[in-house]
Subunit: 295 residues, 2 copies
C-alpha cells in the first residue's frame, strides 16, 4: 500500500472533526467538517465513526491526528517527548489496523513543569517541513489552549500552554461578565489598550472584574467590553509567551480569526509576527507524515 | 419608630439570602438562610419576598444589604464613593417604605480604574465599628469576588476586587479541569507550593493548564489537584492584594472555610493575618447602622 497514492487525513479534536481526501500530490479533493468530536462518540463507537468517514470520502488509508489519540479517543497514542520532529511522530505512529494510523501528541518536561499537546504538532512541524516558518523560531498557536513553542533545528524543543481561549469561553458563557461578552471581538483601541495593560500588569483576575465595574460606573462603553476582555486575556498570554526575550521570528498559526487577534496583540507588544493558516499547515504536516510512512 | 427596639437584618446576595431577627441589644433571636438570592426573584416579586421574611421572623423594620440594592434588586441604591465610612452609608440609605431601608454599596475610582462592592461594606465597617480590626489596616474579604480594602481613619479608602472565587467555580463546573477539581481544598503542601508559585510567577493562565498536564504526565497526584488549583488562584490574588508593600495589620474576614485558606496563603507569603467571621462582622455593622438611624 502506498500512502502517497492518496489517503484520508482527519484532524479530530475534542468537539469537532475535519476530514480531507488528499490526492497523490497531496491536494485536497474533498473534505467535510462536523461536530462529531471525540467527546461525542462512545468508547465503542469509533469504528463506526471511522467507517462513516470512509463512506463519505472513499475507502482509503486513514491518518488521524488530535484528541483521537488521547485516552478518551479511539486508541491511545503515548506522547512523544521533546525535542520532537516529524520523524519522531512517524516512528511512534499508533496503528489501529493496517490502514489506520494515529499521530501521537508531544509532551514537554522541564523547568519544573510539564506540558502536553495533541494535534498542534502536525501543524507546527508541517509549517517547518513546508519551509513556511523559521526552524529556529518561536511559534504561537492560539485556540482553546494556546501553545507557545520554541523550535530548534526544526524540532519542537520546548512549549507552554496558556488556557486563554477556554478562559474567554468560560467567562462568556457562564460568568458575571457573560452579558458584556456576547458581541464580536474587534482589533480596536479598547483591544489594544487592554493588551498593553496586561503586558505591563500581571493583574488579570482583578482586571476582569474591573471591566464590569468600569461599565457600571460609566467609565467604559458596554460595546467595548468584549474587545477589552479579549485584549486583557491575550495580553496576559503574550506576557507569558514573550517573557524570555528573544529576537527570533514569531509565527502565529491557527484559525485566521484568532491569528489576526494574536498578531495584532504581538504588534502592540512591539514585535512583528508572521500569520499562517493552520489548515494549510495541517495539510502540509499530514502529507509529510504520509510521505515518510512510505519511505 | 425605634430601630434599636429590634429589627430584621438581611444580607441579600445574588444567589442566597440570610435573614436575622435582632433584639434590642443587637443579639440574634432567630435567623434563616435560603437560596432566594436576588437573581431568583422576578422584578415585581420583591414585596412578596420581603413579606415572607416578616412572616417567618416577625413584623419588624427591615434593613437590607447586598445585591438587593443593585439594578437587579428591589430598589437601586446608588454607590457611595470612597472614602466611605459607616455614617456615609447611613446618610445614603435608600428607603423603600417607612420601615424598609436598603444599605448602599461603595464605589472606588482612581489609579486609572474603577471598582464596586455591595454587601462587603457592612462587614468591613462593622468590624471597624466593633473595634475588631485596625482602622488603618488592610482587609481581605474572600468570596465569589474577593475584595482587598485599604482602610484609613476607619473609612474604606480604596479597594480592589479579584474574581478568584468565581474563576475557581467556573473551572470546577465547566472547564477541562472539572474532573480534577471535585474534591475539597486542603491547606496542604500542594496548596502552599502553589500559593508560593503564584506569588513568585504571574503565569496563572499557563499554570492552570500545567496542572492537567502534570496529572497526565504523572508529575502530580490527581488528589492534590484541587488544592493546587486553589493555591494557584489564591496566590495570584494575594500577589495583587499585597503588591504594594505595607506593614499594616492584615485582617481576613468572610466565611470561615475561605478565611482559613486566605490566612494560610498570606502566611505562605510571609505575613500574618487576623481571621474574623464575616457573619459576626455583618451583625456588628448592621446594628451600628440601625443605631445611627435612631440617632
Amino acid at each position: 500500500m502506498r500512502w502517497a497514492e492518496g489517503f484520508i487525513a482527519v484532524d479530530w479534536g475534542t468537539s469537532n472533526r475535519r476530514a480531507y481526501r488528499l490526492d497523490s500530490s497531496g491536494r485536497c479533493e474533498d473534505e467535510f467538517e462536523d461536530h462529531q468530536g471525540v467527546l461525542t462518540i462512545p468508547a465503542d463507537g469509533f469504528s463506526d465513526a471511522v467507517a462513516e468517514i470512509r463512506q463519505r470520502l472513499g475507502d482509503r488509508p486513514l491518518l488521524l491526528a488530535g484528541m483521537i489519540g488521547s485516552n478518551r479517543g479511539w486508541k491511545e497514542a503515548p506522547y512523544v517527548p521533546c525535542p520532537a520532529g516529524i520523524d519522531d511522530l512517524v516512528a511512534k505512529l499508533v496503528w489501529v489496523g493496517d490502514r489506520e494510523a494515529i499521530v501521537p501528541g508531544v509532551s514537554y518536561v522541564g523547568q519544573g513543569r510539564g506540558d502536553v499537546m495533541r494535534g498542534e504538532e502536525v501543524q507546527l512541524l508541517g509549517a517547518v517541513a513546508a519551509g513556511m516558518i523559521d526552524p529556529m523560531g518561536l511559534v504561537c498557536h492560539p485556540g482553546t489552549h494556546n501553545k507557545w513553542a520554541t523550535l530548534s533545528q526544526g524540532k519542537i524543543h520546548r512549549f507552554r500552554t496558556v488556557m486563554t481561549g477556554e478562559l474567554f469561553n468560560l467567562l462568556k458563557e457562564h460568568s458575571i461578565l457573560s452579558d458584556l461578552l456576547q458581541g464580536e471581538v474587534d482589533v480596536n483601541d479598547a483591544f489594544r489598550q487592554a493588551v498593553r495593560h496586561s503586558i505591563d500588569n500581571a493583574t488579570l483576575p482583578a482586571d476582569l472584574f474591573g471591566l464590569r465595574a468600569g461599565v457600571l460606573l460609566g467609565q467604559m462603553k458596554k460595546e467595548d467590553a468584549v474587545s477589552f476582555a479579549s485584549g486583557l486575556l491575550i495580553g496576559a498570554d503574550i506576557r507569558i509567551g514573550l517573557s524570555i526575550p528573544t529576537s527570533v521570528q514569531i509565527a502565529v498559526l491557527g484559525r485566521p480569526e484568532l491569528t489576526r487577534l494574536y498578531a495584532a496583540a504581538i504588534g502592540a507588544a512591539g514585535r512583528d509576527a508572521v500569520e499562517l493558516d493552520g489548515e494549510k499547515c495541517f495539510l502540509a504536516g499530514i502529507n509529510e507524515i504520509a510521505k515518510r510512512i512510505d519511505a
